[in-house]
């Protein structure tokens, strides 16, 4: 078992602050500033989970993801939200990204940190439909870029095989 950094380690504090600051950007759908927190070689992946026998050795759908993004595709998604015709988020959802269980791990490269977190996204639309939740774990790689940290890799492990949300017009 690798050991996480102590919670009072300055690197852990920096990583934790990165995730919390990011959650506020995502709640506010401030996607342009959010894109700026990603490295140009960002890999942003959310595999499709499947129910398999304990001994099967896999619980992701082979070769299939919900998100499998690079900077271009994420930029296109953000650009779409900025148009006047992205109906799915106009009126916008009310979003709350709850981030917890944060653990930070040092890597061989001192400009990079691995961070694990748990996330619960609450999403409410309109006044009639029930609100929706997505529960997931995240494995991130943060990279030091000048005087700030940026997100270089995110692996999102959703806890549902069948999502109970009408679409993923959100980021996790």
């Amino acid at each position: 078992m690798r050991k996480p950094l102590p919670f009072n380690d300055i690197r852990h504090l920096a990583a934790h602050q990165f995730l919390v600051d990011e959650a506020y950007l995502l709640d506010a759908q401030a996607y342009e500033p959010w894109l700026d927190t990603l490295t140009d070689d960002i890999r942003y992946v959310m595999p499709v989970r499947v129910t398999t026998a304990r001994g099967a050795g896999f619980d992701n759908s082979p070769g299939m993801a919900h998100f499998d993004e690079d900077k271009y595709s994420l930029t296109q998604r953000v650009a779409r939200f900025a148009t006047e015709h992205a109906w799915t988020e106009d009126p916008p959802s009310r979003l709350r990204h709850f981030i917890t269980n944060v653990r930070t791990f040092a890597t061989d490269d001192d400009t990079q940190l691995e961070v694990e977190s748990a996330e619960l996204l609450f999403r409410s639309r309109g006044d009639v439909n029930e609100s929706a939740l997505v529960s997931c774990g995240r494995e991130d790689l943060l990279r030091r870029c000048g005087d700030r940290w940026k997100l270089a890799r995110r692996h999102i492990i959703t806890d549902e095989a069948v999502l109970r949300m009408q679409n993923l017009a959100v980021f996790l």
Binding site: T51, Y72, R77, H85
Partner: protein
């Protein structure tokens, strides 16, 4: 007592009682009269390539294990133990030689035969009490495939699948036969939407009219060069027996040029020419139409589009998706969306095509996001009492006396079977709902 005959008369003339999109009684009737008698898609052979591979799929509330047994035969077995009715397989996919019931340990070979029954002699007196050797998990009442697409029909006396599909097979080949190897499927992504299953099926069958508006944002960001309002109405919609779809009109050129225009590499075009009939090629090469979305009655849809997948250049690349609108209730649907690609395609093409799919369709797709927003809103509103007083006008493409606004294309302008016409219209949505009415009435 069933619904009033007036309801079906209205549907047949293209005036749709709005409540059919959220009505518990009609959903019960759909289960009794439609889903119990029609061919329902459950998966594709490529999802279970090896002996022993299986996936578990539902036909509404009935769970089936779709297995490739140890002899390589594909079967559909009702996922319920013969003894006390427990599900013998609770995983969604995997590889198994046997399925063992967790309740009392009865076990079945992957071809369904009962092979293990603990204390058979002590508890049943052996075969005298329970002749286990002749027992098997119940097979699906009817089970058949076309181009590897697997279908179950709950009616043991169902008409053969090929007859059911009829001329729509001509169009199915475009999506599922681009080489002798056929397609391979990945996924599905699965998610639930609070929308009636019919809405998506109708939309994919023929709604070219929504593209320029609903999907305006896709054009705004330059992801897709086609769906400008002017271009979309130049396409043709076709209906052939149990299915129909939409097409785009392509710029001038022959078959090869037009296939390249949407992004097929030369080696794929060569293989496609070996497997598509001359007539199938003429729709593209002579007539200039490229298939896009389609629906096979009742709830299986297809999409073929060609977005820009890289920042570095303007090249587009095609992707294919197959999707099932799995009904959960009158106002809820589980969407199962697969990525499909020709099995013989180059690896880089498969990679890029997958990327194109994820950007456009599926749980995160940029087209799909706006569609679902509309369908959920429509379904919610259809559940109220005012919806029972409203007939939705689905007569686009028809004049008051039922003559078409635009005449059907003659056979030399559209070489595919069935009826096709250019321009905005709702012919296909009406055809789909007429079939629905035929089953329910």
């Amino acid at each position: 007592m069933g619904p009033a005959t007036e309801l079906f008369e209205n549907v047949r003339r293209g005036m749709i009682p709005a409540h059919i999109y959220n009505d518990d009684e009609l959903f019960t009737r759909e289960k009794e009269r439609l889903f119990s008698r029609t061919w329902m898609f459950v998966g594709h052979e490529s999802e279970i390539p090896q002996d022993g591979d299986y996936v578990v799929r539902r036909v509404l509330n009935d769970s089936f294990i779709i297995t490739r047994d140890s002899n390589g035969d594909v079967r559909a077995l009702f996922n319920m133990c013969l003894h006390r009715g427990m599900q013998v397989c609770r995983a969604e996919m995997g590889n198994a030689s046997n399925f063992r019931c967790p309740y009392h340990g009865w076990s079945y070979r992957n071809d369904g035969r009962l092979t293990g029954l603990p204390f058979h002699r002590e508890a049943y007196g052996g075969n005298d009490g329970f002749p286990k050797d002749s027992q098997s998990l119940l097979p699906a009442p009817s089970f058949a495939s076309y181009n590897g697409l697997l279908f179950i029909n709950m009616d043991p006396n169902a008409e053969p699948l090929e007859e059911f599909l009829g001329d729509f097979r001509f169009y199915l080949d475009y999506y599922t036969k681009q080489s002798p190897q056929g397609v391979e499927l990945r996924g599905p992504q699965r998610w639930r939407i609070k929308a009636n299953w019919k809405i998506g099926a109708e939309n994919f069958s023929g709604d070219m009219y929504h593209t320029p508006h609903t999907h305006a944002s896709i054009v705004d960001i330059g992801l897709f060069r086609e769906p400008k309002a002017q271009k979309r109405k130049d396409g043709a919609t076709y209906w052939a027996h149990r299915g129909g779809g939409t097409t785009y009109k392509l710029p001038p050129g022959g078959f090869d040029e037009r296939m390249s225009y949407v992004g097929y590499p030369d080696e794929m075009i060569a293989r496609i020419k070996d497997v598509w009939t001359p007539r199938q090629q003429q729709v593209v090469g002579d007539d200039g139409f490229m298939i896009s979305a389609a629906t096979c009655f009742p709830n299986l849809s297809f999409v073929h589009n060609w977005p820009k997948v890289h920042a570095r250049n303007d090249e587009v690349l095609p992707f294919i998706s197959i999707r099932l609108w799995q009904p959960i209730s009158a106002n809820e649907t589980e969407v199962c969306s697969w990525f499909a690609v020709d099995a013989a395609a180059p690896e880089q093409y498969k990679k890029d095509s997958y990327k194109a799919y994820l950007m456009c369709f599926g749980s995160t797709g940029m087209f799909e996001q706006d569609d679902v927003e509309n369908w959920v809103s429509l379904t919610t509103t259809a559940g109220g009492s005012m919806a029972r007083r409203l007939l939705l006008n689905s007569r686009m493409g028809l004049l008051g006396d039922d003559r078409p606004v635009i005449e059907a294309l003659p056979p030399d302008a559209f070489h595919g079977p069935g009826r096709a016409q250019v321009g905005y219209n709702e012919h296909n949505q009406r055809e789909l709902l007429k079939l629905w009415a035929d089953y329910l009435a």
